[in-house]
């Protein structure tokens, strides 16, 4: 039986779920399951956005500030009496503008993504500070708060429905469209991709736009859930989203990565964080556990790869 990286991670996610269900009191209560479902979408969307960028061999360090800026865009509209719909559009526009800026410098000028986004991270943070003067914007209409706090058909959190839709769309875009295939091609070998007649810069531009779009959706959920926006909205998700993408099997040098892997990784993080909180662990130990799991899983991957190779060699020599 052969298991892909993703399925193994899926089993690990299931394992942590069962483990926490056994140990942590109240982990399985409908209440807790519910609150976990509310917590997953905002982080999950950012992790998927990060994954798409990492597949091209890049990284987007500005992603959480793009989200925060998008949130500011929505908040400005809402507090100035516009409806929910224009606010959402504005959030997306703000984010797309940021994405286009990143995309332009990465794809047209050719600066490496980590540098560009390191700079734009500070830049976007500055723009938010200049707009908000550092204070939070709050006081949104009740209807808006339903996006992040409401239930769809009275059953599941609406935000998780949005998350599922975008996860599926991302999966389809990456695997079924020519853009998606080019993203993977670019990630594994950009020169070869260029010589095979692909306009790299267009592919890349769309990657950064798409990541920004996902960040905007995440921002809409966050602002609605927290009923406010501030310069540090979601800033703790930055390194976590890189960690989730990589734990999910995405190759940090590009060329490989699947949505489902990232989602499993998000689940693993969520179960651990929530379970340890319920068990009353000191918050800083949660970080320690997550860091250890990241390293352990990748070490396991390494040895299982090695083992597989040995087996193959054995088989080959036996065949001969």
């Amino acid at each position: 039986m052969k298991l892909s990286k993703e399925s193994i991670l899926g089993l690990i996610a299931l394992g942590t779920f069962l483990f926490m269900a056994l140990l942590a009191p109240g982990f399985l209560s409908s209440n807790n399951i519910n609150s976990m479902m509310f917590q997953i979408p905002e982080f999950g969307l950012l992790a998927i956005a990060m994954m798409v960028v990492i597949v091209t061999g890049g990284i987007d360090l500005s992603i959480t500030y793009i989200a925060a800026l998008a949130g500011v865009g929505a908040a400005l509209m809402l507090t100035n009496g516009f409806g929910i719909f224009p606010a959402i559009i504005m959030a997306i526009l703000f984010a797309l503008a940021c994405g286009a800026f990143n995309g332009f410098i990465v794809s047209k000028i050719g600066v490496s993504p980590i540098l560009v986004t390191l700079g734009t991270m500070v830049l976007f943070e500055g723009v938010i500070l200049a707009i908000t003067k550092g204070s939070s914007i709050s006081g949104f209409p009740d209807a808006y708060s339903l996006i992040g706090n409401g239930y769809y058909l009275g059953l599941v959190p609406f935000s998780i429905v949005i998350f599922a839709i975008f996860a599926i769309i991302t999966g389809l875009l990456l695997s079924k469209t020519s853009w998606g295939r080019r993203v993977y091609m670019y990630g594994s070998n950009e020169v070869a991709t260029l010589y095979s007649g692909v306009k790299n810069s267009k592919v890349l531009m769309k990657v950064y736009l798409y990541a920004a779009l996902l960040a905007a959706i995440s921002a809409i959920i966050m602002t609605s859930r927290y009923n406010s926006v501030k310069v540090d909205l979601g800033s703790s998700y930055l390194l976590q989203s890189v960690a989730a993408a990589v734990l999910g099997g995405t190759n940090i040098h590009g060329g490989y990565g699947k949505v489902i892997g990232t989602i499993y990784a998000v689940f693993v993080f969520q179960f651990i964080r929530n379970g340890l909180n319920l068990l009353g662990f000191h918050s800083s130990l949660v970080d320690v556990v997550i860091g250890s799991i990241l390293i352990l899983v990748l070490t396991m991957n390494f040895f299982s790869d090695k083992f597989k190779k040995k087996q193959e060699q054995k088989n080959a020599s036996q065949a001969a």
Binding site: S112, L115, H253, S284, F302
Partner: protein, 327 residues
Amino acid sequence: MKSLFKQKEFSILAIVLLISSILTFVSPVFLTVGNLLDLIEGNVVIGILAIGMTLIIITSDIDVSVAAVTTAVAVSISYLFGFLPDSWISVLLLFLFAPVIGLVMGLFNGLLVSKIEIPAIVVTLGTLNIIAGLVLYITNGNYVNSTSFPQSFLSFSNIEILGIPILIYLLAIVAVGTWFILKHTLIGRSVLAIGGNTQSSVRVGINYQRVKLFVFAYMGFLAGIAAIAQTAYTKAVDPNGMIGLELTVIAAVVLGGANIHGGRGSIHGTLLGVLLLAIMQNGMILARIDTYWQNVVTGAIIVIAVSYDQISYKRSQDKLANIEVEA
């Protein structure tokens, strides 16, 4: 002279000079010996870490755990103060212990990167979480202030030679030492070779794993020295004081012309990068730029600097290609 202009570090030097001259014009305080010394002393820690990071980035890797490692060593130092006698020997011992503690953590990173072949950003992201979490758990974030420091260490940190603070000499020693290693030792040459072209350097017999191990261990070693510098500079140990510093360090290195894809990078370029960031920090208040716009200015300068650098690099590459074709 011509070769100077062609050098990659030239563009960053130009930007440093440009901003400096603007600042000199805006604020008469900027170009005073006192201000410049303050400015350099305040960035010794970033400078030392950036030098270590340069080696890692030359081999096309990255280490995001530096700030956490430095903090961990600084916290260890504060515990060591409890055991060491108050004499000059303790200060010397500190220079033995601290780098070794850092070295051990660096080796751990290095082993995972070289032997287990996990990408460096992932390894160090993991160790960042682990080390920072443990430090916070053990210390509970409590400050240790100078009242519990031995007098000998305090007087060490206040030494000035020829009017220049000791920490600046420390940075200079680290810079020259690392430059020497890069230029004149086998392992140093291997670092550059691997960054330039991994495959062909392995073919000529360079031990890839050993070089990787070396750069991360060396980074840990320097983090230990940086921890001493940090403790001497702030005269306090704050477990939360260096959160996020790794991004500043990386920014300084890449601003200084090291290529994140490996192969390019130099100690003097990195020092210029540190200087650029330092001047911007310093200049914001001197130039009396509105608080809320400071980040916009900083971010814009970083983006412009890296873009400009890339454009001029591309141009020089194009020229190179032309020459080859003509020949």
